[in-house]
């Protein structure tokens, strides 16, 4: 009898122990809107690729939800007095997934790879680094051509992701087929358009904060189907819930919805001087562009197309950003002012405008609403819908008058402006050119303090809103939906999914 009792107690105890232990062995399944491209931080370009990297590849530094730069693989850093050298102290005891130790030489090799590999897409991001010096096992100095206020933000993204130098040297440009980094999860398997599987890396420096044995990323392009999969329990989390599905998701008690305003923007880019088509009334007279801006009710646009889920916008930063120029808020529509401006420009009886737009649901809906809003002011918009690759090459070649296009956004304010608005900017498809703008944006790149930079961007934004080579409409909200067993998820404005501290509690 006593034996039986002991046995029962033992059984009871072990059962309790089992249920009290953290729910491990959980494979987290996350649905992405599309399939990632090549999984090499130096070669990759897609947004969803970066979501995979957030679990796969650690960076030198990371950001907070408020866009402050915080340590990740670099524990501290100092900038020299003249701003031309950054000295970084690196985290000790970190290893890559293949066992290669992480140290200052690894950082030097990574920067060299990003700068010199022919296929690298990171060259411009790291252009200011002229050389690196390994001054200790865990100390590296980056010498810069001049002060670069944007560099730390670049190092908080793909340019700062550290790949194993051993694996990179062995695989060359094929590194992306079997990526080896130092993140919380290591690469296991990829089936194109089906899944990317990562497994928990036991030697991760912050392994205690990771509570999943593996993560599987599943590309599910259809938004309705993504949500259906979450509701049926086939996946645990999804990114980019359609704004129009919000009501349905919120109505489901087993689903939690989180969101963050993105760093990017959506708007209309005008052709000012890009080829022959730049010589048109809309490109030649800023009053027409101003008239269109006055005709649009951005709040209503957001309500009608996105059920109010996004953020109306008129600048390259959302109003929640510390860089937003608060003296130039989003104004309500003013049709009278729009009509006055048209008359001043010599078009009292109205004018036509052809806008090219990507042939997918949301951009078309946005432009149809803009079309309806512009009509009362006398602006007759015609829409030419194009498949995205075509739209992009026409825009780059100057074969357009106006183009509905957006930008995914960067942590540093420079990324949303310099390449678009400076005379020699790489993505300046408007061919907008203004010496004052060049001066301001160049100065903001090297300015020492945040306050100085803010003043420069405020001034630049004021010119942009007067000239309107890009007319800003709204800022997308990243919307995540997940099973309510998932706890501790923090939304970030960069749209990434960071799994540190996230747990699963049934």
């Amino acid at each position: 009898m006593l034996h039986l009792k002991t046995a029962m107690i033992t059984a009871l105890l072990s059962a309790t122990a089992l249920s009290a232990s953290p729910v491990f062995a959980k494979d987290l399944r996350i649905a992405l809107q599309s399939d990632a491209d090549v999984l090499d931080p130096d070669q990759s370009r897609t947004f969803v690729g970066r979501i995979v990297y957030a679990s796969l590849c650690d960076k030198l530094v990371d950001i907070t939800p408020d866009l402050e730069i915080i340590p990740q693989l670099a524990t501290s850093w100092t900038t020299s007095e003249d701003g031309t050298a950054i000295t970084m102290q690196l985290r000790e005891g970190v290893v890559f997934h293949d066992g290669t130790p992480f140290n200052s030489q690894a950082v030097a090799d990574n920067i060299e790879r990003s700068q010199t590999m022919d296929e690298s897409r990171r060259k411009s991001e790291l252009a200011s680094i002229t050389s690196t010096e390994v001054t200790g096992e865990y100390v590296i100095v980056m010498n810069l051509a001049g002060p670069d206020a944007t560099l730390m933000a670049q190092l908080a993204d793909r340019a700062g992701m550290m790949v194993s130098p051993t694996a990179a040297a062995a695989a060359g440009t094929d590194f992306g087929l079997n990526p080896v980094c130092s993140g919380a999860f290591s690469f296991t398997e990829r089936v194109a358009q089906d899944k990317i599987v990562l497994t928990k890396f036991d030697d991760y420096w912050n392994a205690d904060a990771i509570n999943f044995d593996s993560v599987t990323f599943l590309p599910i392009p259809d938004t309705t189907v993504r949500l259906a999969n979450l509701q049926s329990g086939d996946i645990d989390m999804l990114e980019r819930l359609a704004a129009t599905d919000l009501t349905q998701a919120r109505g489901d008690d087993s689903i939690v919805v989180d969101s963050a305003v993105s760093l990017g923007y959506q708007g209309i880019t005008f052709n000012l001087a890009n080829g022959e088509k730049g010589d048109n009334p809309w490109g030649n007279d800023k009053r027409l562009r101003q008239a269109l801006s006055f005709a649009i009710d951005r709040e209503a646009l957001n309500q009608v197309v996105f059920d109010g889920a996004f953020a109306p916008g008129n600048q390259s930063f959302p109003s929640s950003s510390p860089w937003y120029n608060t003296s130039l808020p989003v104004e309500p529509a003013n049709i009278e002012r729009a009509q006055e401006l048209l008359a001043e420009a010599g078009y009292p009886d109205g004018i036509d405008l052809e806008v090219q737009v990507p042939n997918s649901t949301e951009p078309l809906a946005v432009m149809q609403v803009v079309q309806a809003m512009a009509a009362p002011a006398g602006i007759n918009i015609s829409l030419t819908s194009k498949e995205f690759a075509t739209l992009l090459s026409d825009q780059s070649a100057g074969d357009y008058f106006a183009s509905q296009i957006g930008w995914s956004g960067r942590v540093d304010p420079d990324g949303n402006n310099h390449q678009f608005a400076t005379t020699d900017g790489g993505i300046n498809d408007s061919k907008f050119s203004d010496p004052k703008m060049d001066e301001l944006l160049n100065a903001a790149r090297i300015a020492g303090t945040t306050a100085e930079r803010k003043a420069l961007y405020d001034e630049a934004t004021a010119i942009m809103l007067d000239e309107l080579p890009r007319l800003f409409l709204y800022h997308v909200n990243w919307i995540w939906a997940y099973n309510d067993s998932l706890k501790g998820f923090t939304p970030y404005p960069d749209g990434m999914i960071r799994l540190e501290g996230v747990t699963w509690e049934e």
Partner: protein, 314 residues
Amino acid sequence: MLPFLLRRILIAIPTILLISIFVFALQKLLPGDPLLVLAGEERDPETLAFLREKYRLNDPIWMQYLAWIGNALQGDLGTSLRTNQPVTELIAQKLPVTIQLAVMSMIFALVIGIPAGILSAVKKGTVTDYIANFVALSGLSIPNFWLGIMLILLVAVKWQLLPASGYVPLSEDFWRSITTMLMPSFVLGTALAATLMRHTRSSMLSVLSADYVRTARAKGLAERVVILKHALRNALTPIVTLTALLFGELVAGAVLTEQIFTIPGFGKLIVDAVFNRDYAVVQGVVLVTAVGFIFMNLLADALYFVLNPRLRGH
């Protein structure tokens, strides 16, 4: 029969070559620069120039084609511009998926389509015939994507009977693989069943009015035997060809159904490849599906010989 098949195979070779040239040319006619898609948001000019050189995009089209076909003949279909994966590997990953989907859809189509066709032919002009026709017409008219989403919402979300979408390899988990594929193959199968039903019906009707059927009936054979043994066997010949051709189409991929149910098959592969101007992938997939289609055609011809003794003498 062998010389006949051999002749058909020899004719197939120029056909495949012509298809590959045609598709190559069509792709080059598409507007949009693959490199702008490939270069990403930043479009660094130096990288663009390097990639243009690397993928030989500066060469004249005929040289690009010759380079491609030269490698293809040696079994190298190139690498994907987008993911750097070899195209042969991509195809090897997706072929089993597509074939499984095609086979399961075809089973649905045959099991529904042929009995329904026979029934409506035998009961011509009755309520049964009209109902069968109505159902067939609905099967043809209901868009796949709509039926797919409705099924997901009902069967997977509301009743939680089947997985909502995705794909599990047969080798990994047999039952899960079959259950995951049930809804998409039903969606595809019903549309095909409608086509099969219509053809079976008309084929049966023409056979049922033939002299030998009247003779069979006059001999006093049971109606069941007359229909299933005498009439159906002859009526099936055109259906076999149709089935082979429909199967060929299935192998080419079912874009919408694959998209809705997130099945990583050929259809999704080629659509994504076209959007990304991933030339090598488009070219490789078209080549493989063209070969598949031609093979199914040959198979249909061969089956003709087997089913129709009258042809064997020729």
